[in-house]
Symmetry: C2
């Protein structure tokens, strides 16, 4: 076992005692959006990012423990709704997540999500968790985990193209995990950039707004693209890419939703989460089926499969994989238990006799009080 | 439009005004197991079964409105966990459901479930519903809907093989929807049969326990099999089957979990919910790929595709299809609104600026109160 993972036993996080009330029979712990935010604020964003990176790292190292499949997508003219299941044989996880690029017209986030951890041995749902905030944290943590393995170790400057909901999380993850000191910002919507600068004014990050992608990217060690447009875009073109760069492609995560010119991929060594899914959803969808890629877990096991020189251009073509939500939910469950946050809900019934489901609706017997 | 469906407009149930408090922004209505049971008791089981049969009927009549797929199953040595999504382009539904035949060792039901209705236009989860009780009601309602179209109209006697969690629901659905007056009971566990008789003592149903399947089935108009054993069983064999019978096969719903001898299927005209799924999961898995079946929606549209004479033996090889959960959740949502049951939960965050997800965890600004 990797020394970092010693606090995981058989894939379970070794926890301090829960400070929650005792679980009523067959109840599910529910951590909603407000309480998840409270848990993260209490623990601190930096500590949460470190904890989530560690959890992701340990779970990626046991890649072959997981039964994996591509996510199940339901597309409509307005967006997509997806289910993302995964299991390690002990814990089953799934996430519900949507992607609706015009949701701001309805005062709703582009991406909303929730998910469940369940016990494989019984099917009992153990934990119901908001995953809108949590997905933003896990996506940024996964980006940082990949960049820690792939970017030049002396990387200090990141260009961040797309300053929407995911922006602050990417900036903080690269700041705290990789030591990035300067983040150069570009968004087609200047209000998004202003929002990001306002939100991170309490940090020591140097934040600079640029009015063109080319100016923003020039001189950056790392380029992160996190745009929401549901189009085949070419935000990064080959002339912007320089030897030694690490590109963290986050926003191209759906068929016909890409961010990189195909020639950028040709210039890069390309790393992915789960190859069958990325071939469909990532910027990799531009490439022929035999275009070589390396899965992230392989690099974590064997660093020589990653960057080979300061001149390599590395690309993490991230689309988001169910394993990351598995890790993120386990981490949030740990936070909830440690802090006594969340509530027990009867998502499934507790039955005195498990074969007697009808007892839930049996009319009260004569001479017994109503509502039995 | 079918006259029965006039209270559905564009697939939506026309509701009386909700008696729930006004929905807080981006909140989801949660109906847990206890409140779902309360809603059913308040409305009455008979009325709920009738309402659910009507809802199912109207949704099956608009079969081509739905984007359908087989469910996504995760098998383990102890059981299975499945995700069942479906969408009509306006409403997206999915169910989480397990099947663990040895769960009674853990004092848990064999089948537990919950599900969500979401808005296709935005992806917002609208309704989170327990589906353990609700699945039992919808499965029985679907059985009755099929039998109403397929069984001899003068059917009065049903044999019920398997008297577990689903038993009472099947007995009541056939009593209230078809006018069955006598239910003959068999279970390998006599305690299950006693439980069923106790639970239905308040009804006018004639309930008789039998000690063998052959005695139980002899003379029945309808035979319902609802057993939980995860094996290739042959509970019904050809010599038990008589002309004019309708067989309602509920328990064979998983690869290697069947209830009928293959020759029973050869003797029957076979009806299914969604053919691609039933070929994998139903008793139909015994049959060659070209064995002819008819989908239920076709019979509901065109009754001549159903029973053609009093001598036909009809089989509804039911496995449970996502469309039925879509219908059942819409019905339960209506009950919740009408009765003011359920609670609004923040499954996803409400954001003043939907691009400002980070606002959930931004540290409080100087001179502002904590907890901003």
């Amino acid at each position: 076992m990797h020394p970092m993972c010693e606090h995981f036993v058989h894939g379970r996080i070794v926890m301090n005692a829960s400070t929650l009330p005792v679980r009523p029979a067959a109840h599910t712990l529910f951590l909603g959006a407000l309480q998840a935010a409270q848990a993260v604020r209490n623990h601190g964003v930096e500590a949460c990012l470190h904890g989530m990176v560690d959890t992701l790292h340990c779970d990626f190292l046991r890649w072959h423990d997981f039964a994996k499949c591509a996510r199940l997508a339901s597309h409509s003219s307005d967006g997509v709704i997806e289910l993302m299941p995964v299991s390690d044989g002990t814990t089953y996880a799934f996430k519900y997540v949507n992607g609706h690029p015009y949701n701001h017209h309805h005062a709703l986030p582009t991406v909303m999500a929730f998910g469940v951890l369940a016990d494989v041995a019984t099917g009992l749902p153990d934990f119901l968790c908001e995953l809108t905030l949590t997905t933003a944290l896990r996506t940024a943590a996964t980006s940082a985990l990949a960049a820690r393995a792939l970017a030049r170790p002396d990387s200090k400057v990141m260009a961040l193209i797309g300053n929407g909901a995911q922006g602050e999380f990417q900036a903080l993850a690269f700041h705290h995990i990789l030591g990035v000191e300067e983040v150069r910002l570009f968004d087609t919507d200047p209000a998004a950039t202003r929002k990001l600068i306002h939100n991170l004014q309490h940090t020591t990050l140097k934040l600079i707004a640029y009015s063109s992608v080319a100016d923003c990217v020039r001189g950056a060690d790392i380029v992160t693209t996190a745009t929401a447009s549901k189009t085949k875009a070419s935000i990064l073109t080959p002339e912007l890419i320089k030897p030694g760069m690490h590109i963290n492609g986050v926003g191209g995560d759906c068929p016909n939703k890409t961010e990189l010119h195909p020639d950028v991929l040709h210039a890069c060594r390309v790393f992915v989460e789960f190859e069958p899914q990325t071939r469909i959803e990532g910027d990799l969808q531009h490439m022929p089926q035999d275009f070589a890629v390396t899965e992230l877990w392989q690099v974590l096991h064997n660093p020589v499969l990653g960057r080979t020189s300061d001149a390599d251009i590395t690309l993490f073509d991230s689309v988001g994989f169910a394993l990351e939500d598995f890790s993120a939910m386990r981490y949030m469950r740990q936070l909830a238990h440690q802090q006594g946050l969340g509530s027990w809900i009867p998502l499934v019934p507790a039955l005195t006799n498990p074969k007697d489901l009808f007892s839930l609706i049996r009319p009260a017997e004569p001479n017994l009080a109503q509502g039995a």
